[in-house]
Symmetry: C2
Subunit: 225 residues, 2 copies
Amino acid sequence: MDISVVENVLKLNDEIAVQNRERFKQAGVFVVDLMGAPGCGKTSLIEKTIERLSSYISIGVIAGDLATQRDARRMARFTDHVVQVNTGKTCHLEANHVQRAIQNMDLGMLDLLFIENVGNLICPVGFDLGQNVKVGMFNVAGGDDKAAKHPYIVCECDLLVLNQIDLLSHVLFDLKLFRDDVRILKPDARLMELSSTSGAGMDEWIDWLLVQAPAIRQSAHTATI
Amino acid sequence: MDISVVENVLKLNDEIAVQNRERFKQAGVFVVDLMGAPGCGKTSLIEKTIERLSSYISIGVIAGDLATQRDARRMARFTDHVVQVNTGKTCHLEANHVQRAIQNMDLGMLDLLFIENVGNLICPVGFDLGQNVKVGMFNVAGGDDKAAKHPYIVCECDLLVLNQIDLLSHVLFDLKLFRDDVRILKPDARLMELSSTSGAGMDEWIDWLLVQAPAIRQSAHTATI
């Protein structure tokens, strides 16, 4: 009985995710589900990305948190297209949260939409939101063992980001161990090492977004970045 | 239908937690459920606590992670009483995990048992494990907004720990904001600010453990700490 109910929840989620994906496709918006532990720097990375790209493309954000509108307020300094989702006690976003959020957004205005998931390395991975790509984020201050301890996010994501590489000289973090753990779990994993604070590695991240998203590329290439 | 199944899961968890609590009581062991985000320093705090107290009392650890035995291996350098629980994709420990773990421990040998929960600020809070106290841990590198964003753990815990205060001069962290957020959510919250790395504030933590745990106090006071 338990199992069938769990399956129904996931089945319903997947049905709504399909609807979301269709809406995103029709609107021509490229959607990134950004997942990572609390404090790994998801909001900062999105802020810096908008700063870098906002002259060329239109970027929206759905920010997921249990409570508060702090992330939405932070990002509203950089874009008008921000919706905060407060999940209460739910530790991840589900497709229906996103479905409701985009009712308050003019998707046709957007080239790129970040869904900043609830800070959690585990459950968000299991829920399709209708995104184009899933990005899993780790951070140097979080410790070099976090990839090995969280194989599901490593294996399921299209891209992995290691943030805070500016802290490598200040924190005990075995970069080779971290990289090896990622390779063992997923030999073809794409791992990007950057610092949203210092800007190191950010060019690669921006380039990746531009390559992944035809709509972005199209808009962006009309200007010169 | 969904709701009744969820209630059954929690009811079953609570029944097993009652059994765990009875076993802990009979064995005379004081049990701390330590919860916090990945990388906030749970394992380090336990290591340093064992270093400080191991001459006087016997301390065991149940370490919860999705995968790997890395935490257990780290802590096995300090105590023989370590059991690793790998939860697979489950984002929190449940009472039945603890029940199985203690089948492999000689509880009668222990004065203090740490249950290091899966790194997650959300779901672990909802599951009684049979512990005596719940401790919720934050860290400076995780950002000053994490208490406000996670009201459930703030309100449910017997003690809150802010770790990494040695980083306050290196990281943008508004300590007054963090403290105010905690007070607003829980006016009588006990908040302990410490660094397991520098040792600052550790005396207060050790004293708190000794006051909370009559069994520990009894054993410890036979020696002079």
